[in-house]
Amino acid sequence: MNAELQACGLDVGSTTAKIVAIDRAGRMRWWHLEPAEPRVEEQVARLIDLAGTAGVDLQTAPLVATGYGRNLVAGAARTVTEITCHARGIRQEFPGGGVLVDIGGQDSKVIHISPQGAVVDFAMNDKCAAGTGRFLENTAARLGVALEDLGRLTLSSSDEVPITSTCTVFAESEVISLLAKGVRLEPILRGVHRSLVRRLVAMIRGIGAASPLLLSGGVAQNQAVAQLLSEEMGRPVQVSAHPQLVGAYGAALTALEMRPSRA
């Protein structure tokens, strides 16, 4: 057992499952990420075992569960929503408040965090995949582009073709028909990214646009999203150094705060 690992956070998302262990100073010491599996309880059990082999002692290190499957985590000391956990996690990296835009695989959220670190307001897009990673994933797959190349390719062109379909599924058809007409890949990609970013902007403006603008979630790794968002909002955007782990990290920090003493 590694006594340094004092608390644990588990974020069971709809696309990926993440587990993070931290030390008493709140630093991330171990983490693991993998695609979400349909049999949530089995995956959760396996992840907790994995944490055990990494040195986490669940008898002494509390675990807080968050995310879509948070209520399916036996052994969780507490469950907390991803809103609160993301706010907690990002605050560690960017104290002073701001607006966090978390773009996940199947949902996106905007959280207004006060300078004192409290959640002031939030908005969730969890009814529609447009504005989430799924939108980009689908179109990338259709275009035969690897996810990790999306951002670079998108930014390589200054031309842009608007995508008018608001629905992910219909946008796919639109993209195909554009390609069939001979439109180049990169301007189409820019249009796709622009659509995504505009959905986010609508959510951000509904919350009230405070500064700074922070980005997390798998899609935050796409530099085109960060850049276009910054353009549309007219402000710089700061991306978390560990964008996919912010929720799990926040859950771990919450768990740490539950410990009776920091000895």
Partner: protein, 88 residues
């Protein structure tokens, strides 16, 4: 026809806001949840000014949109939970 101010019976928005602020004060409520049925115009038109007024009075609020006859989707529960966490 007495009863609380009601948009479907012509109550001005400011009256409804006053009533809500009064209710929140009397009950010690920490926040307001607007539980709205999708497409309900009387509610949807009132919402922004009500929420702004509540915010100005230091009362946070949450809007949740549901369908009349459908079971509670888990997303709605998450929002309500997140709101409660925000208040505590």
């Amino acid at each position: 026809m007495s009863g609380p101010p009601d948009p479907t019976r012509g109550s001005p928005i400011s009256e409804r806001l006053q009533y809500l602020k009064g209710l929140a004060g009397k009950s010690g409520a920490r926040g307001v949840i607007f539980y709205d049925v999708k497409f309900c115009e009387p509610e949807l038109f009132d919402l922004p000014q009500l929420r702004a007024g509540l915010q100005a009075a230091g009362i946070p609020s949450l809007t949740v949109e549901v369908d009349l006859n459908d079971a509670q989707p888990h997303q709605v529960l998450t929002r309500i939970e997140a709101f409660v966490e925000m208040l505590t």
